[in-house]
């Protein structure tokens, strides 16, 4: 039977289930982003969805703790339940397509699952479908058939007509559609666990031996190895993201003097600065300049996690309006969103002010990113798979030193 790729629908776009692995019963179930150690906020709810007595996964599939890896963030709500339940059902018969694995069928899923395995309606289905249009087009172009699973009640509420929808009242209809066998499948799984376990152990030993041999001999990984796929793809993804991240600098100029505290209700002239080259903004003149807003635009079609920090190269701290520069900022950026940080100019200066802006962004948020960025370790950020943008900005001193 062919492996099936499961996509969980979110309002930010589809999130692919990349892997489900059994974990030690001494820990809690966790949903991680893209193979990293970043646990998503739904982890606690997923643990409750798995674990007896509240959960249904342990009851159906016999194990109490799992780690799931998904390709994109899933922030909250319960509409992921049907998607992850479907993924567990496929995993149980070794039909869940892993990351990078070829597949001949994809399922796009949204819905809640209750303790009796009924499928309950969810919100924002139309929006989720719209956000997944690029994926549907990709799958169509690749010739991969798609099935959409959603609660029956939601189907009746759709304003647009969609093909390939399978309305569900219970998970049994999903079992039937995927040819999983409604009652026998979990029972077979439980009865044969011991036999499969022994077989799996042998397979692991053989595969492990081959892998170790390859490693020692430098022959390279098997083309189907997830590790190999990840190693090849990760830098590519960063390179792909890079051109879609844009650093900006916007001047806030007051017609007269700047107010004592920015912004202070002043009507400013807003001037967007051009770049002289990829790493330098056009220098600013001092007169009338109150603040500069540095920003990072996410021009890609996917959400990213972004960080930005400004560094002042040389200073006259005695005259700073603010005792310290603005701290680092970070948050998730939806497509088209901007993360910005504002540097308020000192009231008085006779030297040029040199600013360095460093921003980083990626699909993942490695734990140490803030620390690396605060130390301007751009190479480390890149090695962690993040796209990095830097630019310098000079603010020329006044011709004659005066209060601004």
């Amino acid at each position: 039977m062919t492996p099936v790729r499961v996509y969980i629908a979110t309002t930010q776009g589809p999130s692919e289930v990349q892997r489900i692995t059994e974990e030690d019963p001494n820990v809690r179930s966790v949903v991680c982003l893209n193979g990293t150690s970043e646990a998503l906020p739904i982890s606690a709810a997923y643990d409750a969805f798995v674990r007896k007595p509240t959960g249904v996964v342990e009851k159906e599939y016999g194990h109490s703790v799992y780690r799931v890896d998904v390709s994109e963030r899933i922030s909250d709500g319960k509409s992921w339940q049907l998607g992850l339940f479907t993924a567990h059902a496929l995993l149980c018969v070794n039909r869940l397509a892993g990351k990078g694995e070829n597949t001949e069928l994809a399922v796009w899923v949204t819905g809640e699952v209750d303790r009796d395995l009924n499928v309950n309606p969810v919100d924002h289905v139309e929006e989720k479908l719209r956000k997944s249009s690029p994926l549907f087009a990709e799958l169509k172009a690749a010739g991969v058939p798609l099935t959409i699973f959603m609660p029956k009640k939601n189907v009746g509420e759709l304003e647009t007509e969609w093909k390939d929808i399978v309305p569900l009242k219970t998970v049994r209809e999903m079992y039937r559609e995927l040819g999983l066998g409604e009652k026998t499948r979990p029972a077979i799984y439980k009865l044969t666990t011991g036999v499969i376990g022994l077989g799996a152990l042998l397979v692991v030993l053989i595969v492990g031996g081959l892998w170790w041999g390859n490693l020692l001999g430098g022959i390279g990984e098997s083309p189907k190895s997830n590790t190999a796929v990840e190693a090849r793809k990760r830098p590519g993804k960063t390179e792909l993201l890079g051109p879609f991240l844009e650093l900006t600098a916007i001047e806030h100029r007051a017609p007269g003097r700047c107010p004592a505290a920015f912004p202070g209700g002043e009507a400013y002239n807003i001037v967007a600065l051009d770049k002289t080259d990829t790493k330098h903004f056009t220098a600013s003149s001092w007169e009338g300049l109150c603040a500069v807003e540095y920003g990072l635009n996410n021009n890609s079609d996917k959400p990213v996690h972004a960080w930005i920090k400004v560094f002042r190269l040389g200073s006259e701290p005695r005259f700073s309006r603010e005792r310290r520069l603005p701290g680092m900022k970070d948050r998730e950026l939806a497509p088209g969103e901007k993360l910005s940080i504002t540097m308020v100019l000192p009231r008085w200066s006779k030297k040029p002010i040199m600013m360095r802006i460093i921003a980083a962004a990626g699909r993942n948020a490695p734990q140490e990113t803030g620390k690396w960025l605060s130390k301007a370790k751009t190479d480390t950020l890149r090695r962690a798979g993040l796209a990095v943008r830097t630019a310098d900005h000079a603010i020329n001193p006044p011709t004659k030193p005066r209060f601004n």
Partner: protein, 184 residues
């Protein structure tokens, strides 16, 4: 502070001359180290903010100041001690100096390697009284780095679980017997 507009032109000229002189003096004494120039005096309010506010994290300036100033470190220790809900002292362990379990009054921390991904480690904080107030931040006070802060997820039945890279500074600090843990 008087408004600039309240000064006479004579006063303004005098102030500009003084500022010019001070700026020249700064230029003479400036060693040209950008990172040093950027570092400004860290005060008690910065420490307090770091110890008590969830959005205040360790940054380069604070770390630098803590390294340089013994008194600041003492103040941080006092603050953490006074504001923490739970405190785990240094571990009295055998000579290896590495621990996977730490216990403090009212809590226990276990490090558990992930079966699914051996390069990741679960940090499991077990509160002995699940109904006790749940901490929202963990501070690791060690030697290198001096202090790490981590925002904690909500506890579930008295258990807080975090996943971390096995080679991260956080794991290294938790395994170091000389690290003190403060849960706030």
């Amino acid at each position: 502070m008087a408004a600039w507009s309240a000064f006479t032109s004579k006063q303004k000229t005098a102030a500009e001359l003084v500022f010019d002189a001070l700026s020249t003096m700064d230029g003479i004494t400036d060693h040209g180290d950008a990172s040093e120039a950027e570092t400004q005096k860290i005060g008690f309010s910065d420490l307090y903010s770091f110890a008590t506010r969830s959005d205040s994290m360790m940054d380069e300036e604070l770390e630098h100041a803590l390294k340089q100033d013994d008194r600041l470190r003492e103040n941080l220790d006092k603050l953490l001690d006074e504001t923490a809900l739970y405190h785990g002292e240094r571990v009295a362990a055998a000579s290896t100096g590495k621990v996977d379990v730490r216990e403090g009054k009212g809590f226990k921390i276990r490090l558990h390697e992930s079966r699914a991904s051996p390069r990741h480690i679960y940090i499991i904080i077990e509160l002995k009284d699940p109904k006790a107030p749940s901490p929202t931040a963990m501070f690791l006070r060690g030697s290198k780095p001096l202090c790490q802060k981590l925002t904690l997820p909500r506890s579930q039945d008295g258990i807080i679980q975090i996943l971390a890279d096995s080679d991260s500074e956080m794991i290294e600090a938790l395994r170091d017997i000389d690290t003190q843990v403060f849960l706030r």
